[in-house]
Amino acid sequence: MNWSTDIMLALPEVILLASACALLVIDTFSKDSGRNITYGLAQLILIVAASVAIYLYTGETSYAFGKTFVSDPMSTMLKVVVCIISLIVFLYSHEYLKKHEWMQGEYFVLGLFAVLGMMVMISAYSLLTVYLGLELLSLSLYAMVAMRKESQAASEAAMKYFVLGSMASGMLLYGISILYGVTGTLELNQLSHMLAVQTEQNILLVFGLVFIIVGIAFKLGAVPFHMWIPDVYQGAPTAVTLFISSAPKIAAFAMAIRLLVDGMQPLLIDWQQMLVILAILSMAAGNIIAISQTNLKRMLAYSTIAHVGFLLLGILSGTEAGYAAAMFYVITYALMSAGAFGVIILLSRKGFESDNLNDIKGLSDKSPWFAFIMLILMFSMTGVPPFLGFWAKWFVLKEIVDMGYVWLAALAVVFAIIGAYYYLRIVKLMYFDKAENMTAIKASRQMRLALSINGLALLVIGLMPGFLMTLCLAALIK
């Protein structure tokens, strides 16, 4: 084992861990009550980690630390995307923390540790590292949800998230232990090999697989393991909801690919069927329940569940092009979700969360530009061409139709059309209803700029989706 090459491969993680620890100390001694130093350094760390990941990119698949760590095109791509999304999230969150006078340096430190957890999950090559990365991510998120002490809703959300999250981790761990008991290995490649060889113990392996699927479905938020999502999204401070709803979904996607594709490809037929059920239920429940919501955050939570259903469609197609389509979908979703919660943060003021559907009424009178940005976000989530969300749905549907699941694609389109109702209702509220109060929007220049770029990106990338798709394909086709 050569240590220097191993550490070089994991340099983004090493840098992130070391600098997050340093940032913790700097934050403790910083006299700056605005936490601008902590915030600036956190952003710098993310940029450095992403640049190092790009710099180290070779296009080859290499392993490190006794094959517990893998560096391949997919890991580089997803790590960079996670860093960029977290960068946007931190920018919006800083605005939120400032507006609501809730400036805590720990938000950024815990956020960085969560990003570290995501990176570990993305380049995990052993069941052990998958689990540890997931725990690192989840633990940081539980704490971030609960950090707003005076908010009862946040405490309740954190408790629900923690209890259900621990259950899901336990399930995942149980599945891992069964797989380990049968195959005697934790390494994903070897596991896949052993699964291909062993056929007489199939039932026991599928039994273990069920628990793994439960763990993944919980982290993604697929029905029927979605119970935590609406409560946590609504109860958590918007800055934390924004974080939970964006980057961790990318990590959960990476976990699904690592476990199901890298580790259990021989059981494709089995997990395909399970994912079909999860996907249909998620799309149905997400889109239908979202219609009756009056709280914007809760509505977006159900919309997340519906999007997860679409994401699962891409994974269950079982082809590399399908996984690439799913990756395209999850990146698109993270961008859209960050933008939508960004708009909620933009409209909020101290003591006013602006998370009700009524609060968005008449936005076009108050600020035509941000009403337009929200329009782009909602159209993109609906899947209206030429926005990015359309292409995400298009690629996924194309893959499953190619695989012969025409009925599933038709069902997905029906649910997407049902979903269009509640997205377009927001557009109606913004443009055709009168505002209840005309308080001007107060936001910093960088917030306005970032949100505009975020919204326009959906339009611009949507006009030329080939570029992002090429990247996704390059990341997944071996």
């Binding site: 084992m1 006794g66 517990t68 815990l110 540790f113 570990v120 540890l132 026991l204």
Partner: protein, 200 residues
């Protein structure tokens, strides 16, 4: 023969104490039975020649975690009668679900898969063999990466605990004589000129 007998004693003790943990009514007893089950599993680990793990289990779980746990139980005033409300009405449904799950899992996991034939017996080592050294070597070479992540998880737990529980220092009402003697009349008294009330 004698080794087998010892194993069965401790295994039986483990199963007994583990089932007592979940059936006993008093939470303090439940915690103490949990201590007993940790001890018996530590004994089984010792028989597998995993001395370090056995001692770590006793030191960490029995010595530290369970003592803390007992403190928590004693500090929390849990109303058990409220917790047990509705137990009888949920019981039939619970039993049916549990039985179904047990049968289903038993059919799948049941016999056949976990036989002892395939498992090799414990390898005995010479007296100078150090379990601790071997564990250390494995942890810091083969499992270095997972080990470091576990360290990061513990660090996050510490940060989270402090971030969640630390509050601003309370403003106490202590007297500060040095400031008190410096007080001037203007600091305390404010003379306001106002119009006298007019009769209507």
């Amino acid at each position: 023969m004698i080794v087998q007998a010892i194993f069965y004693i401790f295994a039986g003790l483990l199963i007994f104490s583990a089932s007592m943990v979940i059936t006993v009514r008093n939470p303090v007893f439940a915690a103490l039975f949990l201590v007993l089950s940790f001890f018996s599993s530590a004994a089984i680990w010792l028989m597998l020649e995993a001395e370090f793990l056995a001692i770590a289990l006793v030191l960490v779980y029995v010595g530290a975690v369970m003592v803390l746990f007992l403190f928590v139980i004693m500090m929390l005033d849990i109303n058990l009668t409220r917790l047990r409300e509705g137990f009888a009405s949920y019981l039939p449904l619970g039993i049916v679900v549990a039985l179904l799950m047990m049968i289903a899992m038993g059919l799948v996991v049941g016999s056949g898969y976990f036989r002892t034939e395939g498992v090799s017996p414990v390898v005995s080592h010479a007296p100078d063999y150090s379990n601790t050294t071997e564990l250390g070597k494995a942890l810091y070479t083969l499992y270095l990466y997972p080990f470091e992540i576990a360290g990061a998880i513990l660090l996050v737990a510490i940060i989270a605990a402090i971030a969640l529980t630390m509050r601003k220092p309370r403003s106490t009402k202590t007297q500060q004589p040095a400031l008190q003697v410096q007080v001037k009349k203007e600091d305390r008294l404010k003379i306001i000129k106002m119009q006298s009330e007019q009769q209507q």
